[in-house]
């Protein structure tokens, strides 16, 4: 990430103000709100995305559209129909992701237990868990100036690695679970290192090779599930053997209710975020990553080995994505993985890393937000189209990636030091 060099001149915070006028808190706060700094760009991106989402909901709904045909005769019909549609849709997302008000009522009346109230939150955390890992995998590579679009493929190999150890060894849980997790990370790391090695040795762009490797991994998964070694012995559809009891991620809130799916992988994800933070800001390796990311030529002149930095960064990133795979095959997919278990978590990791601005704490927050969107959309379907989560996610990160667009739409002022934007690079 780098900043562009345009510095504001005419609209400097102090320009054109009498020297004796003291800036009070409200004035400073107002200026902060009207400025395209990274916090406000994030806030406005979210607001704009939900606004555009609302417009699309209204435009695409047949009933609401029909009320607009007589808008000039009775505008209140159209306006109230639009308002109720948008309110109900977003409320349904909220209830599926955070807190269901109906369940709360039932709990107050004694018809639901405490676990039921927590279920939406548990689902949010469940969907957020793989996103934390894949977001870190993309974000870490961003810091080295690499665009790791291959988290999906790395995650698939992580899934397979963890699965194989998960069902083939016969060990006590204290050994089995960690071994399976490590196997997932190693499989992901090995697959992730390929684009790094190719870039280091041949100059092949990591985006192109990662796209190809993603597709290769997807077909490999279809083939692998069908092989006799992995395929379920009891079921006929494309599903693998289940992992052993000793390799399953324990549920965190299993004592409250069996349906709360959030498991140990969430804590591992947070630990991975802390590790990534430590790696990036405290270790020599992280210094090298950031140096190469800022300016590879200067780093090479300073004696850093660029090629090996690319390779190791991609391997660590692949390892993180592999952990996402392990979290899936030892967690929600423990009963056997299908071609559908991986969903789009790897691709969503890109959006998570962008919203989190490639910063571990931001990535965890972004993963929670997108996990909530996913959980909400899944629970609100079919009343609300399930893909509203993808749509909102895409609009949010489009604005994050192009802050100048937000600035232009809302007529914000340039912050001191210019907009924070992604550095543009060629192939």
């Amino acid at each position: 990430m780098s900043t562009d060099t345009k510095t504001p001149t005419a609209d400097q915070p102090d320009a054109g103000r009498a020297p004796d006028e003291k800036p009070n808190f409200m004035r400073l706060f107002g200026r902060y709100l009207a400025e395209a700094n990274s916090v406000m760009v994030t806030v406005y991106s979210l607001l704009l995305a939900f606004f555009i989402g609302a417009i699309l909901l209204i435009v695409s709904d047949e009933y609401v559209r029909s009320t607009y045909t007589y808008f000039f005769a009775r505008p209140q019909d159209a306006l109230s129909a639009s308002w109720y549609l948008v309110r109900d849709s977003y409320l349904a997302l909220f209830e599926g992701a955070i807190l269901n008000l109906n369940t709360l009522d039932r709990f107050a009346a004694g018809n639901a237990d405490f676990g039921d109230i927590l279920r939406p939150l548990s689902e949010t955390l469940t969907y957020a868990t793989p996103l934390i890992f894949t977001g870190l995998a993309v974000g870490l590579a961003f810091r080295a100036g690499l665009f790791n679009i291959g988290a999906q493929g790395q995650m698939i190999f992580g899934m397979l690695g963890a699965l194989i150890i998960g069902f083939s060894l016969n060990l006590p849980a204290v050994l089995h679970l960690p071994l399976a997790i490590i196997a997932g990370a190693l499989a992901g790391a090995a697959f992730g290192a390929i684009p790094g090695v190719l870039k280091a040795t041949t100059g092949a762009h990591e985006v192109i090779s990662s796209i190809m490797l993603n597709n290769i991994a997807a077909y490999f998964l279809v083939w692998a599930i069908g092989t006799g070694f992995l395929h379920s012995e009891t079921k006929t559809d494309l599903v693998t053997k289940p992992v052993d009891e000793s390799a399953i991620m324990p549920k965190l809130l299993g004592t409250l209710s069996g349906s709360l799916r959030v498991n140990l992988a969430l804590l591992i994800g947070i630990a991975a975020a802390v590790f990534t933070w430590w790696l990036l800001s405290k270790s020599t390796f992280g210094f090298r990553i950031r140096a190469v990311g800022f300016n590879e030529h200067a780093s090479a002149t300073a004696g850093m080995r660029i090629g090996s930095t690319y390779t190791t960064t991609m391997a660590v990133a692949g390892g993180l994505a592999g952990l996402a795979g392990a979290a899936l095959s030892l967690g929600v997919g423990a009963g056997g993985i299908t071609t559908n278990t991986a969903l789009e978590y790897g691709f969503d990791g890109i959006t998570v890393a962008l919203l989190g601005r490639a910063n571990p704490a931001g990535i965890v927050a972004a993963a929670l937000l997108f996990g909530a969107l996913k959980a909400g959309a899944l629970s609100a379907q079919p009343d609300v189209p399930v893909d509203i989560s993808t749509l909102l996610q895409a609009i949010i990160v489009l604005f994050i990636a192009a802050p100048a667009l937000v600035k232009a739409i809302l007529h914000l002022r340039s912050p001191r030091g210019g907009l924070v934007t992604l550095e543009a690079k060629g192939w």
Partner: protein
């Protein structure tokens, strides 16, 4: 100076001298030997490979002895590899590469079609391959126009989805399938216009934005699909007729492949030559290539770099949007979620394998279309030696090999993806 006349022009000397190609030679030799060993050890001696012309000469059947044919093809591949290892004149290198690759593919095909029940129906497969290569062709041509102008278009997949969705929607609203195709083009163009705006005016990272635009198109079309399917008759399948060119369609092989196709095939082939002509033979093409290679130089000659880029990228969306119409209209299908299934990325690969050149793109698209068709055909006949998934991986593996420079080097336009700011020359 006298010294200058002493040195011979180096380019001429290199052209004639035999050069060794160690990496490529080793790869070809290994592949050829692999085929020969497989023919000797794995393939049963009684196997035959049957070829038919299923549409014109329905009675003709040719049965080749598989072992002999595979051994021969393997030997040709290995010989090409050995020739490269020993050293060959530069102008023969391309011929050697092409011969070796063709022989290897033919060897694999002969082997794959030797299973019981598998018949190589030459005419259906070649005609199908040409039809299947169309989305790659339209997408990759769109990519060529964008990247030759210096803007990376990684969002071809998204433009496909927008085109596929809008094509059906407009066709349903207007009742006219050709209006649907125009609608698909406009939808593709609108999505590249957003990319163009962000790339030229706001100078964002084009790869990242391209990925986001793909996601946006996926989210938008899936969302709209769910919303609109509640309404009746907005997503019914439309089809276009197959054109039969009278007696020309009766010619063996050429007839079914070239003269009995849907109109998109002819549009696709015409566009290849049109884009090639425009890029290499017109003033617009020269400017476009200049803007993609060295925008500062183009600017100093009076070309408005960002304006040209903006309109080129917007126009390129017409091509990829039209490619989107292939998925629904040309296949007589209604729209379904994520129906492009990653083919937009194959189109990107075709553009790279075709070296950012419309004619190369045609060859690449045909090869990938052929691979897809063979994979489908073998899957349908059920007796594949190699699992279908591995055949479907092939385009991606080929692209990896090409970008890694194992067989030739793919080089993008110099200023591809680099935003141009007239202020900081």
């Amino acid at each position: 100076m006298a010294v200058d006349t002493m040195t011979p022009p180096p380019a001429l000397a290199d052209e004639r001298a035999p050069a060794r190609h160690i990496k490529a030679g080793a790869v070809y030799a290994a592949l050829g030997l692999f085929l020969v060993v497989m023919a000797m050890a794995v393939i049963g001696a009684d196997r035959t490979t049957t070829i038919t012309f299923d549409q014109t000469l329905t009675d003709a059947r040719w049965a080749l002895p598989t072992v002999g044919a595979v051994t021969a093809f393997g030997a040709i591949t290995a010989a090409a590899g050995a020739w490269m290892l020993l050293g060959l004149p530069q102008r023969w290198y391309k011929i050697g590469t092409a011969a070796g690759a063709t022989a290897f593919v033919l060897g694999l095909l002969t082997w794959a079609y030797s299973q019981t029940g598998a018949v190589f129906r030459a005419e259906s497969i070649l005609a199908g391959a040409l039809f299947l290569s169309l989305p790659y062709l339209f997408g990759a041509l769109s990519g060529v126009v964008c990247e030759r102008s210096g803007v990376i278009n990684i969002g071809i997949e998204g433009q496909f989805l927008m085109g596929a969705f809008t094509g059906v929607l407009v066709a349903n609203i207007t009742g006219n399938v050709y209006a649907g195709m125009v609608g698909a083009m406009i939808a593709g163009s609108l999505s590249t216009m957003l990319l163009a705006l962000l790339a030229t005016k706001y100078q964002v990272n084009q790869v990242v934005v391209g990925v986001i635009l793909n996601l946006l198109a996926l989210g938008f079309t899936s969302f709209m699909y769910d919303q609109l399917k509640k309404a009746e008759g907005l997503n019914s399948a439309f089809s276009i007729p197959t054109l039969t060119w009278g007696p020309l369609a009766e010619i063996p092989v050429i007839g079914p492949v070239l003269f009995q196709q849907k109109i998109l095939v002819y549009i696709g082939l015409a566009l290849v030559f049109a884009v090639w002509f425009l890029l290499y033979r017109t003033r617009w093409g020269l400017r476009t290539r200049a803007v993609g290679e060295h925008p500062a130089a183009a600017d100093s000659m009076g070309v408005n770099v960002n304006r040209l880029r903006f309109w080129n990228v917007t126009a390129a969306g017409l091509l990829s949007g039209f490619g989107g119409a292939w998925f629904t209209i040309a296949n007589s299908l209604a729209f379904s979620k994520n129906m492009t299934a990653g083919l937009g990325f194959v189109a990107l690969a075709v553009m790279i394998v075709g070296r950012w050149n419309p004619l190369g793109v045609l060859i690449g698209a045909l090869i990938f279309g052929f691979t897809t068709q063979v994979a489908r055909d073998l899957d349908a006949s059920g007796g594949a030696v190699v699992p279908g998934e591995f055949l479907q991986m092939l385009p991606y593996v080929v692209t990896l090999v090409v970008v890694a420079g194992l067989i030739g080097k793919a080089k993008a336009p110099a200023a591809d993806g680099v935003p141009y700011n007239p202020g900081d020359k």
